[in-house]
């Protein structure tokens, strides 16, 4: 097992990793910016190294500084967390080249899944269902027209190198194709410095379902069920649940096993999540996240596993300690992401947290780096806490989540708690009658 690891991240996810290390007797070093020296993850680490000024480019994304910190602290592994450098294959490679263990998948897997067209081609090759589409960049209108009519309208034009919902055009009929195609290329150029676009079948009101995967270096791969993350606001997941309230056991089993088999074919290691759109009973591969995910927590609750500890185990060269046939759903779990933001405008809300009091009691897990007197900085992501509610069934889980959100006290900054409460009180949510567009369509 690794003896001392460096956590190259901050906030609640750094804290999550520290907790796993403490439970495995692994020593911890965190790197932090000058803005973060009083953060909870710095307080709870065995050692900390200040690596630069507040801007992430100069600190959390500064690869030489992180490697130097690992060197001077004598770490033997580096965990990239979520975001930051987690899906940067060069970073993974540099970490390995410098003799540290990168706690994540192999650089080539990170690399392959980073490019959307490459990822889709690979997915198709290893037997995953993909959305009918161009399979390569569309250079001109003529090709666009041919592709669109062969797959049938409506279609969607996407930037090959993009993300976050930018540069996306939906075309319902051929007569709107030309203008949208040209616009999409222009926006792609502006947003991502590259005008490559591709075309896919557009799914009208799909749900977002993803499968959790883990692998060890012996080639053993397991799936740990699925999660549904259809509750999104402006393309950001805000409420996730496990299991999906929409899938029956048969569908669940099928997509999980299909994903597990696909990952075996590429000898995938460590953690990963394969994301699908689910529409009319069919799954379509969207992308694969070659890292831990924010919402790994609900899978942990439902399947009674510790994904981060298992990640550390397999990164250390150990065999998966979890057996596929021993994994069973024991309950239902829902996570809410608490963001420091104005609940209406969604503008970030920063400053001093005057009072912090998290909810407790049965079935409530809080992953947060907040404390009374801490500061929420404008330099970083607004995700400040995760409330994970677990109950014997979906109803108990929702009722518990409701009472936990009512107990939560965060004073000094604004949060999206009022918005989250509004969502879980809606009949559509309670009846699991939603898709990825539902939240954006809520009027009052």
């Amino acid at each position: 097992m690794l003896k001392k690891i460096l956590v190259a991240n901050r906030g609640e996810i750094a804290l999550r990793i520290l907790r796993a290390c403490k439970e495995l007797n692994i020593k911890t070093v965190v790197v932090h910016s000058t803005a973060d020296e009083k953060e909870m993850f710095v307080r709870l680490a065995d050692e900390s190294v200040c690596i630069g000024p507040p801007h992430v480019k100069s600190s959390y994304l500064n690869i030489p500084s992180i490697i130097s910190a690992a060197t001077i602290a004598n770490a033997d592994g580096i965990h990239p967390g979520i975001g930051m450098l987690a899906e940067n294959s060069s970073f993974a490679k540099i970490v390995n080249d410098h003799g540290f263990t990168f706690i994540g998948p192999k650089p080539e897997h990170i690399d392959k899944m980073a490019n959307k067209i490459k990822a889709k081609a690979l997915a198709k090759k290893i037997g995953l269902p993909v959305i009918p589409g161009s399979e390569k960049n569309i250079e001109n209108y003529k090709d666009a027209k041919l592709t669109a009519s062969s797959i049938g309208y409506p279609i969607i034009i996407k930037s090959t190198n993009g993300g976050g919902g930018r540069g996306i055009k939906i075309v319902e009929e051929e007569k709107h194709l030309k203008s949208n195609f040209l616009l999409a290329k222009k926006e792609a150029e502006q947003c991502f410095g590259n005008d490559d676009v591709y075309i896919e079948k557009f799914l009208k009101n799909p749900r977002h379902i993803e499968v959790q995967i883990m692998g060890d270096i012996s080639g053993k791969i397991i799936h740990i069920g699925e999660r549904e993350c259809s509750i999104q606001r402006r393309n950001q997941k805000i409420i996730e649940e496990c299991p999906s309230p929409k899938l029956d056991e048969d569908k669940r089993q099928k997509i999980c096993e299909l994903t597990q088999k696909a990952m075996e074919k590429i000898n995938y290691t460590n953690v990963g999540t394969v994301e699908y759109l689910y529409s009319d009973g069919e799954f379509f591969f969207i992308e694969m996240n070659t890292r831990l995910q924010v919402e790994h927590t609900i899978t942990e609750e439902v399947y009674n596993v510790d994904i981060v500890k298992e990640q550390l185990n397999v990164a250390s060269g150990g065999k998966l300690s979890i057996k596929q046939d021993k994994l069973h759903k024991t309950c239902h779990s829902i996570e809410c992401r608490i963001n420091a933001e104005n609940p209406i405008t969604l503008f970030p809300s920063t400053g001093l947290v005057k009072t912090y009091h998290p909810p407790g009691g049965p079935g409530i897990r809080i992953d947060s780096s907040l404390y009374t007197g801490c500061n929420i900085s404008s330099f970083y992501d607004g995700l400040i806490a995760k409330v994970i509610s677990t109950g014997k069934d979906r109803i108990e889980c929702i009722m518990r989540l409701k009472r936990a959100l009512n107990e939560y006290v965060i004073e000094g900054v604004q949060t999206n708690i009022p918005f989250l409460k509004k969502i879980i009180n809606k009949t559509e949510f309670q009846k699991a009658n939603f898709d990825v567009n539902w939240v954006n369509s809520i009027k009052d």
Binding site: E37, R43, V49, C50, I51, S65, T71, I72, H98
Partner: protein, 144 residues
């Protein structure tokens, strides 16, 4: 101030302090005639008993006391005070240095980064020892 801080004054302070506690005040000024009392209570509590925190606080104070105008480390790495093991140090205490003169080397990712003087002056203090790890922003050398 010519008066002696006698027991009465200390008693006054104690009484005012108790009144602050009782009334939940963080600051209190009271004057009458020539006497002026200003009392402030420390912002209490936040993790003061947390061992890690105490450590950080000490560190902070140390850093603050180390004069603000010391040359700070621009990167994380290992400090070397001589060009190679056993060689003469780049600079010694009390030595005159000029802008641009190499003061020490910081190794980061197997690369040697020369740290040079940012002003002319005398080396008043060297804060790091040879082969010691340094953090970003840590004081290295004081030139005056």
């Amino acid at each position: 101030m010519t008066e002696k801080i006698n027991k009465k004054i200390l008693d006054d302070i104690e009484q005012l302090s108790k009144a602050m506690e009782k009334n939940g005040l963080s600051e209190l000024t009271y004057s009458e005639g020539k006497a002026v009392y200003t009392l402030k209570k420390r912002e209490n509590g936040v993790f003061s008993e947390f061992p890690e925190i105490v450590e950080k606080n000490n560190k902070e104070i140390k850093t603050k006391n180390l004069l603000e105008n010391a040359l700070k480390s621009p990167l994380v790495g290992t400090a070397y005070l001589s060009p190679e093991p056993g060689a003469k140090k780049f600079v010694e205490l009390g030595q005159n240095v000029k802008i641009g003169q190499v003061l020490l080397i910081i190794e980061a990712m197997k690369t040697m980064n020369e740290i040079t003087a940012d002003k002319n002056g005398i080396v008043k203090k060297i804060f790091v020892s040879n082969e010691a790890p340094v953090e970003f922003g840590e004081p290295l050398i004081l030139i005056e």
